[in-house]
Amino acid sequence: MEHPLTGYLNSYADSENKRHILGAELYNFLIFCKVNIPQDASYDYYSATQDKKDNEALVYARYFLYPLRRIVSDPDYKIYYRSDPLNESGYKLFKTFRDFGVILKKEQ
C-alpha cells in the first residue's frame, strides 16, 4: 500500500484521487456505468474473483456509484468487471466497455 502522505503531497484533483484508489481501468469503467445507467436504478456488481482486493473494489464501487443502489436480488442492471457474464435469463446485453466491462439490463 502506498503511503497516504504520497497522495497528499501530490495534491491530486478529486477525480485523480478516485482514479488512484480504484485504478484507472476500474475508475473509467465505473464512470461509464454511472453515465449509462439511470440514477434511480438498482444494480449488482460482479468481478472475476472474490478475493480481498475485489471485495475492496466493490466497497469503493458501491460508494462511487451511489445514488445507484446495489441489491443482490433481481437488480435492474448487472455490472460485470473482468468477469464473464453468466447465462442470465431475464437479462439482455446493455453495454460493453472495451474488453473487460459488461452491463446487462433486465428485460421488461
Partner: protein, 458 residues
Amino acid sequence: MGGLIAALLSIELIGIFFTLLIFKVLKYETSLGELLSLAFFYGTGIIVFELFLLYSFGVYFNFRDIIVLLLALLIMTPILFVKFFPKIKYQSIKLDSWLFESLFFLILFLVIVIEIVVIIFMIPPILAYCRDSVAIYAFKAKIFYFNSGIPKDFFKWSEATVGAPGYPLLLPLIMTWVYEFTGFNDAIVSKLMPLFFCVFLIIFYVLLKKYFNRKYALLGIFLFATMPQVERVTCVILSDLILTIFVTLAFIYYMFFLKDGEFKYLIISSLLFGFSLWTKDEAILFSGVFIVSLFFYLKDNFKQKLWKYLAIAFFIIFICYLPWFLTKKFNHMVNTSDVNLSVITFRQAINNIKSLPVFLNQLRIQVFALEYWNIFWIILITAIILKRDLLFKGKNKYITLFIVMTIAAHFLAYMFIASEGRSRSILITATPRYLVHFIGCFIFLLLYLLRDSNLIQD
C-alpha cells in the same frame, strides 16, 4: 476549507449553549479551555441526537434549517446566560512559563506539536486506505447528504446495499452535518478526525492538569499523541477515536466524582457515556461497567444516596441511547452478519476460544513489536507490577475495577458474538482498535501510579 471551519464553529456554538446550560444547572465552575473543548464534544453529541430525532419524526433537514437554528442559538445564548444568569467564573489560559524552564517538558511539547502537524498532513485527501471508513461511515454520510437526512426505509436496506446498517450513526451524521456546510466534499471531511484529535488533546490536558498537575498533564497528552495505534485511527475515518474520546472524558469525570464525591461530575460523566453509545456498540460495555462500578462505589461510600445517584446516571445514559435502541429493536437490525448480537450461543464462545492464540499474538505485536510505541506499555506494566498494592487500596480499587471489567467485557463479548470462523480475522483487524479504546484510561492509571511514587515532583 471555509465551509469546514463554519461547520466546526456551528458544532462549537451548539455545544457551548448546551454546556453552559448544564454547567449553570450544576453550578459548575470551569476554565475557558475546559468549556470550549468539552462544548465541542457535547455539541457533536447534541447534533447527532437532534438529526436522528428529526429522522424519527420524518423531518428532512437542509442548510437553511441549520442556519435558522444557529441564529436562534446565537441570539438566545447571550440573553439566557448574560442577562438572566450570573456570570460563570472563567480562568484565563496562560502560556505556561515553566514549560520553557524545563528542557525535558519543552521537548515533550515540541514532539506533541510535530505529531499534530504530521497527523493533519498525513490524512489523504480522500476517504481512502481504509475499507471500513468508506463502507461503514463515508457511504452512509453520502446517502444521508443526498437524501437530506436518513432515507425512510434505510434501516431495512440489506448489507449488500449498505455496509453494517446496524452500526451507530454518530460519525456518518456528523459528516453529513459538515457536508451541509461544505457541499459533498469527501476530501475536506477527512480532516474531521485530526480536528477531533486536536480538540481532545486540549481537554485531556485541561482535565489531567486539574486532577494531577501541569507536568503530569503534559506527559499524559504526550503519551496519547504519540501512540501509533491512536495515530492510525486518526488518519482514517473510524469511530474508534471518537469512542475513545467520549469514554476517556467520561472516565476522567467519573474519577473526579470518586475523588470529590460531587454530584455534578457524575452528571457530566453520565452524559458523555450516553453520547458514546452513538459511536460504537462497544460503548455499551463501558457504560454497563460504569453503572456496575458506580454501584459498588456508592454502596461503600454513599449508601443513603445509592439508588438516587445510580438511577440518575442510568436514566441519563438510557435517554441518550433510547432513540437508537428503539430503532434497532423495531427494525431487527444486526451490526453485520459476522457480528450478530441476536445470535449469542455458548457453543460459539467455546469454538471461538480456538482463536485465542491469534488474539494473544496480536496483543503481543501491538504491545511489544518494534514498530509500535512500546515504551508506554512497558512503563505501564512495570508500574502495575511495582505498585500492585496500590491498585486495590482505598478508592483506587474502583479505577482498577472499571478497567479490568471493561477489558474482560470486550474480550467476552467478542468470544460470544463473533460468528464461527470469523472470530480469527475479526480479532486480527480489531485488536489494535480495541487497544485504542482503553488508552486514555490506561494513561490515567499510569499517571495515578506515578504520582503516588512521586516520580515527577509537583
